[in-house]
Symmetry: C2
Subunit: 344 residues, 2 copies
DNA sequence: TTGTATGCGTTATCAA
DNA sequence: TTGATAACGCATACAA
C-alpha cells in the first residue's frame, strides 16, 4: 500500500511486526513452529505491506521450485488439451504449478524443453510428446528431477511410465467388426510413428489375422482430421473397399467419417463401420456418435501427480535409497459403444 | 558426468575453466563482454560438468524470472486451447516461458492465480478468463508485473487490453440472414455472463432491431456443445420458431446444429440458417461447415508478446516514466463464409 | 576484457 | 518458540 518500491521482503515484514526475519519465514512455512500470537502479528504486517513469499528465493535455497514442466506438442488438439487440463488441475491441488513447454515433436526440441526444466530446477517433467536424448534425461536425474512419460512406451531409470495396453482394444474392435458382419477390415494410421500409435496398428492387424479376416493398412500425414479425410479417400477407392475401419485416433476417425459420408455417400454404420480411439468430446457429438476407446485421461493425471507426491514423501523420509528402478502403470482403454458400429 | 552431487554451479565451472565465476556468468549472459577464447573454454567446461544456469537464482537477482502466467479456465475448450498454443509458442520464441494456471472462472480463483504469479515474480500475467480483484492487480503493478487482458473488456492501469469489436460482426450476421430471406432471428447465448459474450448478444439484438427484424434471445448454462443442444430445444419448440440463429460460440453452434438436424429433422441451411463465433477447427469440419467469425487468435498472441517485449525495452531504456496509461487493441472478427447460411 | 566484492530473498542450522 | 548466521547460485558495480 504505502510501499512503492518493487520489493517488499521478509525483512520489511519482520521490522513492522517487531520480530526477526526467520520468524516471518516460519510463519509462511507450513508446519513450522511459531506461536499463534506472533504468527498473527506477522500475517497482519505482511498483508499491510503486500508481502508475498518469493518462490524464486525459496526454490533457490530448497533446491526445489514447485514447478512441474509439461512437455507437449500440439496442445490445441482435443486429447492433448484435456490431458493438460487435468494435469494442471491436479498439480495445483498438490501445491505445485505447471510450466507449459511447446515442442514440435522433434526429439531435440524435447531435449531443449527438458533443459528449460533443469534451468528452473523443476521438481519433475511430464513428457507427452517425443523422447528426449538420454544424456539429457541423465542430467535431469542427477538434478533430482523426476520424469514421467505418458504413452511413450519407454522406460527411464527413476521415472514413471504410464501407458495403455494396445492388445485388449484391438481384440475388442475386431470382435465388434466381426459381430457386425464386416468382411474387410482396415486400419487408418498417420505417419507420426509414435510408439503407441504403431502398437495400436500392430495389435489390430494381428488380432484381425488371428480372426481370419482380411485387413488393409493405410498411413498418411499427421494425426489429424485432415489426414482422416485423405485416408478415407485412399481406402475407399481401393478395389477391395473395406467395410470396417479402425482409426488410430478419434480425430482421424471424424475426418474419415465425414469424407465417407459426404464424398462417398456411404452410410455409417450401414455401409461402413468405424471405430476411433481417445474418446474426445467430438466423438460423442451426435453427428459422429463414434464408438471408441476411452483413454482414462483423468486417471493418468491423478496417478502422475500421486506418484510425484509419493516419491517426495519417500525422499523426505529415511530411505535415501538409490532407486535405479522405474515404475510402470498400464491401463486398459475402455470401449465406449456408440452408433458407428452395427449391432454395438 | 563425473559429478554426482545435484548442484553444479558457476563456481565449479569457473574452477575447471580456470577463470573467475563472474566470467562464467558473463559467458551465459547474451551481450556481455567476454573474449571468444575464454568464452569457448567456459562453454566446454560447462558442457563437461553438465552445468545449467539456475534461472531461480538469476531471476532472484534480476528481479525478473522470464515466466509469464497464463490464467485461464476450461483449457480443454478448442478456442482456449488454441489461444494457449499460440501464446506459449510466441513466448518461447521471445525467450520466455509460460506458466499455466487453471481457474474455475470465479474471480477469486483468478486472484489466487495472480498471487501465484507474484510469488514467482512473473514478468507478466495474461488473463483469458474472469477478472481479478483490483487490490491484487495493484500489487502486480507494484511488483512490476505486466497484465494483459484478452477479451476481458476492461482496462487496468499499465495493462494491455485486447478485444474484438462486437458491432461489425453483428451487422454482418444480420445482413447475411437478411439476404438469406430469414424473418425470425434469434441469439443463442450461455449464462456465463462474460462481458464479451454479453456484448455479442447486445450488438446482435440491436443490429436486428435496426434492420426491422424480429429477434428472440435464449440463454442457458455454460458456453458448451451441450448448452447448444438445450438452446436448440428451447428455441425450436417456440410458437414462433426462428429460422436464423446466431450462436454466441462455435461450440454452442455445433450443439445447436446437431440437435436441429437430428432431433428436429431440420435442414441447414434450407430450414435454418446458423452462424457461430470463434472459427474453431470443428466449424470447418464438413459435418458442420459453419459460417462463423474468426477470432484472430494467432494475432492476439503475437501482439501480446510483442507488447511485452516493447515494454521491457522501454524499461531498459532511458524512460522511467510513470505510465498509468493503459493500451488497448481492438480487432474485427473476420467472417468466414461456409455452408450454414443460404446464399452465403 | 577480467577479477573482486557485494547483495538478491529465502530457508536451515544452531544457540539461546 | 525465537533470533543470529550461514548458505543457496547468480549478476553486477567497480576496480584493475
Amino acid at each position: 500500500m504505502q510501499n512503492d518500491k518493487a520489493g517488499v521482503s521478509a525483512q520489511d515484514v519482520a521490522e513492522r511486526a517487531g520480530v526477526s526475519r526467520s520468524a516471518v519465514s516460519r510463519a509462511f512455512t507450513p508446519g513450522a513452529s511459531v506461536s499463534a500470537a506472533t504468527r498473527e502479528r506477522i500475517m497482519k504486517a505482511a498483508a499491510e505491506l503486500g508481502y508475498h513469499v518469493n518462490h524464486l528465493a525459496r526454490g533457490l535455497v530448497r533446491n526445489r521450485s514447485g514447478i512441474v514442466c509439461l512437455i507437449v506438442s500440439e496442445i490445441a488438439t482435443p486429447y492433448r488439451a484435456s490431458l493438460v487440463r487435468w494435469l494442471t488441475q491436479f498439480l495445483q491441488e498438490a501445491g505445485k504449478v505447471a510450466m507449459l513447454i511447446n515442442t514440435d515433436r522433434s526429439d531435440n526440441s524435447v531435449s531443449a524443453a527438458l533443459l528449460q526444466a533443469i534451468n528452473f530446477r523443476a521438481d519433475a517433467s511430464i513428457i507427452l510428446s517425443g523422447m528426449p536424448d538420454r544424456t539429457i534425461t541423465r542430467q535431469c536425474y542427477q538434478h533430482g528431477q523426476r520424469i514421467i512419460l505418458i504413452n511413450r512406451d519407454e522406460a527411464l531409470p527413476g521415472s514413471l511410465s504410464i501407458h495403455l495396453d494396445a492388445q485388449a482394444a484391438a481384440t475388442t474392435a475386431v470382435r465388434a467388426f466381426q459381430r457386425a458382419g464386416c468382411r474387410h477390415l482396415a486400419f487408418a494410421n498417420s505417419l507420426a510413428g509414435t510408439p503407441s500409435l504403431i502398437k495400436r496398428e500392430a495389435a489390430f492387424v494381428q488380432a484381425a489375422e488371428q480372426a481370419g479376416l482380411m485387413v488393409s493398412v493405410e498411413r498418411f500425414g499427421t494425426t489429424s482430421y485432415e489426414s482422416g479425410q485423405i485416408l478415407a479417400h485412399r481406402l475407399l477407392t481401393r478395389a477391395q473397399r473395406p467395410d470396417a475401419v479402425f482409426c488410430v485416433t478419434d480425430l482421424v476417425a471424424c475426418g474419415f467419417m465425414d469424407e465417407a459420408r459426404h464424398r462417398f455417400q456411404l452410410r455409417v454404420p450401414d455401409d461402413l463401420c468405424l471405430i476411433g480411439y481417445d474418446n474426445i468430446a467430438q466423438a460423442s457429438w451426435s453427428s459422429y456418435s463414434l464408438t471408441t476407446f476411452a483413454q482414462p485421461v483423468e486417471q493418468f493425471a491423478r496417478d502422475a501427480v500421486n506418484w510425484l507426491q509419493q516419491k517426495e514423501q519417500a525422499e523426505n523420509g529415511l530411505t535415501p535409497q538409490h532407486e535405479q528402478q522405474h515404475d510402470t502403470l498400464v491401463y486398459q482403454a475402455d470401449v465406449v459403444w456408440r452408433g458407428s458400429v452395427r449391432g454395438g
